[in-house]
């Protein structure tokens, strides 16, 4: 396993900081129409590690069949996705200001747009994994050797279609498939335990035949290590224990920030906190 060196770690940390800044800006631009703030902040370190370090995806290879694919199955967390695509040059900074505005390319759930690097339309929960399975089968059949990285929500795992995909991915031995389950323990109207408890998620995934790893989803070293175990003949599921609303004192573990309006004064407060974020 190839571990991150200090320079790589610093690079990803800085990338994460920029993602959080973009998220704040877009949440402010969204204004009264509000945005899915909490669930975007919980995946910042995961998405930063993928886009700034792990994935073979850049502006030069965006039409090549061999590029890695990313699927944001929990499409509502698109603030983090758009921010990452901006940082790697697919989306211009000015375009982020159009978030959820009339005729924007950047709606509240991703709309497929190759030019902007958005591979698939997502937003209806429980569909991303199946798309990933199709891609992984193709990658192997055509010997294009790309990997597929997908982020699911823990609430999303309520959907039965997720478990159809879980069964199939291990049946087809898709070792080029990596899923993160963003285990922030909340869904729209309450905690997982209140709404629909997942019980022992790790045991479930192991019993479904996945290479299953549980990590701190905000620890960049742990994220990177989990992605580079090179386990053969099994898909890899990474249960990322995260904090919904991570990074800001007002939003951490506060489910009122699932979908909320960011006021100018809260934005200013958040900027100060971001300065000091480690």
């Amino acid at each position: 396993m190839k571990k991150l060196n200090e320079n790589e770690l610093v690079k990803i940390k800085n990338f994460s900081k920029k993602i959080r800044k973009h998220i704040l800006d877009m949440a402010l631009y969204a204004g009264a129409s509000s945005s899915h703030f909490g669930g975007a902040l919980s995946i910042v370190e995961i998405i930063s590690t993928l886009f700034s370090h792990q994935m073979n995806l850049n502006k030069k290879n965006k039409y090549l069949e061999t590029r890695d694919r990313f699927i944001l199955s929990k499409g509502h967390a698109c603030l983090a996705y758009y921010a990452a695509l901006c940082e790697i040059g697919f989306i211009k900074k000015d375009e982020l200001k159009t978030f959820e505005k009339n005729d924007s390319n950047l709606l509240g759930h991703p709309v497929a747009n190759k030019e902007l690097g958005i591979e698939f339309s997502n937003g209806s929960l429980g569909m991303g994994l199946s798309l990933g399975i199709g891609l992984c089968i193709s990658s192997k059949k055509k010997r294009n050797n790309f990997n597929v990285y997908t982020i699911l929500g823990d609430g999303e795992c309520n959907e039965g279609s997720v478990w159809e995909g879980m069964m199939a991915a291990s049946h087809f031995k898709l070792d080029n498939l990596y899923i993160f389950i963003d285990r922030n323990n909340f869904q729209q109207t309450g905690s997982n335990d209140e709404i629909m408890c997942l019980n022992d998620l790790k045991a479930k995934l192991i019993s479904f035949g996945w290479n299953t790893i549980e990590i701190d989803g905000h620890n960049i070293n742990e994220i990177s290590n989990a992605l580079n175990l090179n386990v053969k003949n099994k898909p890899t599921a990474i249960i990322a224990n995260t904090i919904k609303g991570k990074g800001f004192s007002f939003s951490e573990n506060n489910n009122n920030w699932h979908h909320a309006v960011l006021t100018k004064s809260t934005y200013e407060k958040a900027l100060t906190e971001l300065e000091n974020y480690e």
Partner: protein
């Protein structure tokens, strides 16, 4: 005319004998040899889809995803996005309604192109009950943009639809109706184009639009009505979406009565598609919609259920005759 498949007399007779489902399986063997990057996906129904030979002969082009239709559509869309020509197949209710939202998002909204084959649609599985009969699929799929709906009149047209779907620009749903010994409408090769209806009989009083198995029944009904002095056109509407609105508007100008006949609910199917066009025509003809009533009622073997719903040629002719007399 056809490029991939040979439409000789012997093949046409064989297809009719084995029925539309087995015809799909038989034709898939030709596709495997001629179509680049072909993948056929099923949900544990290879035998029902006539795919057992295909499964053995071309295992690398075949994928069984188990009894999981939502996953079926997602995997198919993923494969399609990397250039595969994908067919999915399972029984019509599960092919359309179980995974309806996956169809909407992946094929309609995201425009990934696949070809879906709905097996044993309509009433052919009448003795298995309404979990397996499918009288809703046209209606459900018709409301989703960017998906064509094909409803072949016989097994020859089933082959035409499969062939044409490959090069069609959007996703396609092919609705298979009928059983073995399926009556032949098309005895020879002919020109088939998605979106262009076919006038099989030309008459001056009434236009009968029909689709699927009801095309043959309507041709038989036309003979009965002719003997009663009523002259009918019979139209094969093999493409229900996009509907051939130009041709329908033209036909409305020369008809005293429109009739539509389908092995599908009277809600949202062929009748509705025709009515949506006809309603915009000045002094349009009255329209009699013949199909399965909006209820789950009659069960039993195929012939019995069709007869009880008035979908045999004699009962179709009688309904048309009675309506025509009131004009």
């Amino acid at each position: 005319m056809s490029e991939l498949i040979n439409f000789d007399e012997k093949s046409i007779k064989t297809w009719s004998l084995i029925g539309s489902r087995a015809t799909f399986g038989m034709v898939s063997l030709d596709l495997a040899k001629n179509v680049k990057d072909l993948m056929i996906l099923t949900c544990d129904v290879s035998t029902s889809a006539g795919l057992d030979r295909f499964r053995k002969s071309f295992p690398e082009k075949y994928l069984d995803v188990g009894i999981a239709e939502q996953n079926l559509i997602g995997i198919a869309a993923g494969l399609s996005s990397t250039g595969y020509n994908v067919f999915t197949t399972t029984f019509a209710p599960f092919q359309t309604m179980r995974c309806c939202e996956q169809i909407k998002v992946n094929l309609g909204y995201m425009k990934k192109k696949i070809n879906m084959v709905g097996l044993a649609s309509g009433l052919v599985l009448g003795n298995l009950g309404y979990t397996h009969c499918c009288i809703e699929d046209i209606s459900v799929i018709r409301s989703i943009p960017n998906i064509a709906i094909l409803s072949p009149a016989d097994c020859t047209e089933t082959v035409k639809a499969i062939e044409a779907s490959l090069s069609y620009k959007s996703s396609v749903y092919i609705r298979l109706t009928g059983s073995q010994n399926n009556p032949i409408v098309y005895k020879n090769d002919y020109n088939y184009e998605i979106g262009k209806l076919i006038e099989l009989k030309s008459g001056k009083d009434i236009t009968i639009f029909s689709t699927g198995t009801m095309v043959y029944e309507s041709l038989e009904a036309e003979k009965i009505l002719k003997s009663q002095g009523i002259s009918c056109s019979v139209i094969d509407v093999h493409t229900i979406k996009p509907i051939d609105s130009v041709a329908i508007v033209e036909l409305s100008k020369k008809s005293k009565l429109f009739v539509s006949v389908e092995e599908h609910s009277i809600v949202g199917g062929l009748g509705s598609a025709i009515a949506e066009v006809n309603s915009s025509v000045n002094s349009s003809p009255e329209h009699l919609i013949i199909g399965v009533p909006d209820k789950y009622e009659i069960s039993g073997d195929y012939g019995y259920v069709k007869e009880m719903y008035g979908l045999s040629s004699k009962l179709i002719a009688k309904k048309i005759f009675d309506k025509y007399k009131t004009l």
